[in-house]
Amino acid sequence: MPHRTFISFIWPSALAMLLFIALPIVSVGMQSLFIAHEQVIETVENCGPFGCKTVEMVNADATAQLRADEPLGRFNGVGTYTNRNHLAFAEIRLALAEASGPGDFANRVLNLPFYKALAFTLTYTFVVTPLVILLGFFIALAVNRIPGMFKGPTIFVSLLPMIVTPLIGSLVLFWMIDSKGIIGATLQMLFEDPGLSLKASSTLTWLTLIVYGVWHSAPFAFVVFYAGLQTVPQDTLESAMIDGATRWQRVRYVVIPHLMPLAVFVTLIQLMDNFRVFEPIVGFNAQANATSLSWVIYNDLRGSDGAMLFGSAAATSMLTIIGVCILLAPVVIRTWRANRRVA
């Protein structure tokens, strides 16, 4: 393709990507390097319905000038990245020096908010992604086998979990797994344990979130694989049958290799999606037991009354982007190598 043609094709998307992806990331990156100005605190008298008291409050006029001079705030370098609420270098160093063993070290690290969130985020990503691919694949195989007239309704029903908005889906399930909800009460009966609650312990909360994640994302994998199944070459399948291949052997040696590029695609999308897990944590009120990087960003932006931590949220966002890049690197490199071989 001549360069001119290529450029005239590509420039609208390149411009859009620059404007809507690259620039915001640069802006967030800048924000993460700055913190608020030093506040000028003064002691003032505060009176109201419950009497008078002297309180320390910010003198907003005094800080307004500072802010007008340097609207971004004070330059803090990577200070926000390394502080206790993010990578916590000082705390990790201390833990390394003082920990009595690997178990104690792990406990100390997992007590830090960023690593606590990272632990759940990674567990969720690496458990949900393969399960989604497996489950989606088997649903696709099953749906592909059922008679034509049932296919439409079955596909529709299978897609429902993905159609439901994640926040609403998780809220609905949150009430269903309540100890008085239909699922919660049934589980209590099945396990004959009236005290059983899926919301009370970390393990069960993690399990609930993971099950929810698989339930929600499996339809996506199913739909992609189902589309792929329609293109499996019938000749090859028939030859395999003539050669005496069992059903499983046909799936293993014909269908799976044919669907491999799609599996790579689903893996990429799922890794990205699952690394950003957020809505179920809000929907399930799970923040006491499970937090994710996205939830940490959300909490910085609206955790307490108006005390928003923009720099902190920006730093966690950048770390999330880096995390996604690291996660995707192996898959992307593999695909790139494969493409080069083809070329």
Partner: protein, 411 residues
């Protein structure tokens, strides 16, 4: 059309024309855009304030449960997205930290004739907000259950534990206590209440340095942990809505819930007459031999955005004054503990009044309190689940607070 409905229709017309005669409320120009939380009291205020809409004046109100997350952003815009907003002890501080509210002294001199002195929230001699109601978490108890357990109404948290034990031992309820222990703001608020009940201080005097890692902090945590032993194991997911639902379902006998919920659990909806009839209110209990109820007093009021134009600010203030008028309070006497002149004390408001009379502290109006509150809410859950010691939890809170306070420029 029969006579009665004709009468009703004509009455409606008379009312409509009467209210349109009042529309405008004397607002000459400018528009008022009000933001407020969404509960019965603010609904009554909003409908009274928006009655001024029309006749050259534009008054709109947005009631939103997430209003506290919107105020700062709404007031920062110029012109502001909302010209006046519902504020409380804590949210007014957030607004003041960025210098986003305007002093109301001139407007009060012009239009604030009916205000009582105690309604005026002054900071450094300037009125920054006008309050309309008081609120506090206080004791809700089920008289029938406590009687059946052969206990009296507890006035201390130690007593609450003893009553809960009796209720459980008698087999009346497995989890007699409920609390707004949802990780985050709610859990932070429970700690603040209990810690102030122990007479604790959050900061070293005159500075933003945290000072909660002490014996009072440990005692606070241990009391909270002891209470959770009598709570539904899901307590870390329970906010006010969930506690209200548990209460109305008759699953709990003791809770320290917001005064603004007292009307809702006795309104003849969502519960049985037996439960509602036995729902009683009292001051928040004291703790650890202290003399003041372990709760914080809150006021709810309105502040006007600094960025609002003079005309808009005046229009907003007039609309707010109509919203929080004595007539509105008289017509909605049961909706809240009004601070408005002439408002009668409501029977279900006893808990808030008694807590205030008992000398409970107001929620601290300190610039860095919001940051502290956030750190507490985020770091306490591990302790309550038995994953770490009280000392470790308090150290974690201080460390999380210090990191955030440095970023906010307080340290």
């Amino acid at each position: 059309m029969n006579k009665v409905s004709k009468l009703a229709v004509s009455a409606a017309f008379v009312l409509a024309s009467a209210s349109s005669a009042y529309a405008g409320c004397g607002i000459g120009s400018g528009s008022a855009k009000l933001l407020a939380n969404d509960f019965p009291a603010t609904q009554a205020i909003a409908s009274a304030a928006t009655a001024c809409d029309g006749g050259g004046a534009s008054v709109t109100a947005n009631l939103n449960k997430d209003h506290k997350d919107l105020i700062v952003a709404a007031f920062t815009a110029n012109p502001p997205e909302f010209t006046a907003s519902h504020v409380t002890n804590s949210t007014l501080v957030a607004v003041m930290n960025d210098g986003l509210a305007q002093p109301l002294d001139d407007l009060i001199a012009k239009h604030g004739g009916g205000l009582q002195d105690m309604q005026m929230i002054t900071i450094d001699g300037k009125v920054m907000a006008v309050a309309f109601m008081a609120n506090a978490q206080h004791l809700f108890y089920r008289k029938d259950i406590i009687d059946a357990a052969g206990a009296g109404v507890p006035t201390t948290y130690e007593g609450v534990l003893a009553v809960a034990k009796k209720i459980r031992d008698k087999g009346l309820m497995e989890y007699p206590i409920a609390g707004t222990y949802k990780a985050g703001w709610n859990l932070g608020e429970e700690f603040v209440n209990m810690y102030l009940g122990h007479g604790g201080e959050f900061f070293k005097p005159g500075s933003a340095q945290p000072a909660i890692n002490n014996a009072k902090g440990v005692a606070t945590l241990n009391m909270m942990k002891a209470l959770t032993e009598y709570m539904n194991p899901d307590f870390l997911t329970h906010d006010s809505n969930a506690v209200q639902a548990e209460w109305e379902a008759g699953n709990v006998a003791l809770t320290n819930l917001w005064g603004s919920r007292a009307g809702a659990v006795t309104d003849g909806e969502g519960s049985t007459a037996a439960i509602e009839g036995n729902t009683m209110f009292a001051a928040a209990p004291t703790v650890s031999g202290g003399s003041t109820p372990a709760t914080t007093l809150w006021w709810d009021g309105f502040a006007v955005a600094k960025n609002a134009s003079a005309a808009d600010a005046e229009a907003s203030f007039i609309a707010v004054m109509n919203g929080i008028s004595p007539a509105m309070a008289a017509g909605n006497a049961d909706a809240a503990n009004w601070l408005i002149a002439g408002a009668k004390a409501r029977p279900v408001g006893k808990g808030v009044v008694d807590s205030a009379a008992g000398g409970a502290s107001p929620y601290p109006m300190l610039s860095y309190m919001g940051t502290m509150h956030g750190a507490i809410g985020a770091e306490l859950a591990d302790f309550l689940q038995g994953k770490e010691s009280a000392d470790q939890a308090l150290a974690d809170i201080e460390a999380a607070y210090i990191a955030a306070a440095k970023e906010k420029g307080f340290l």
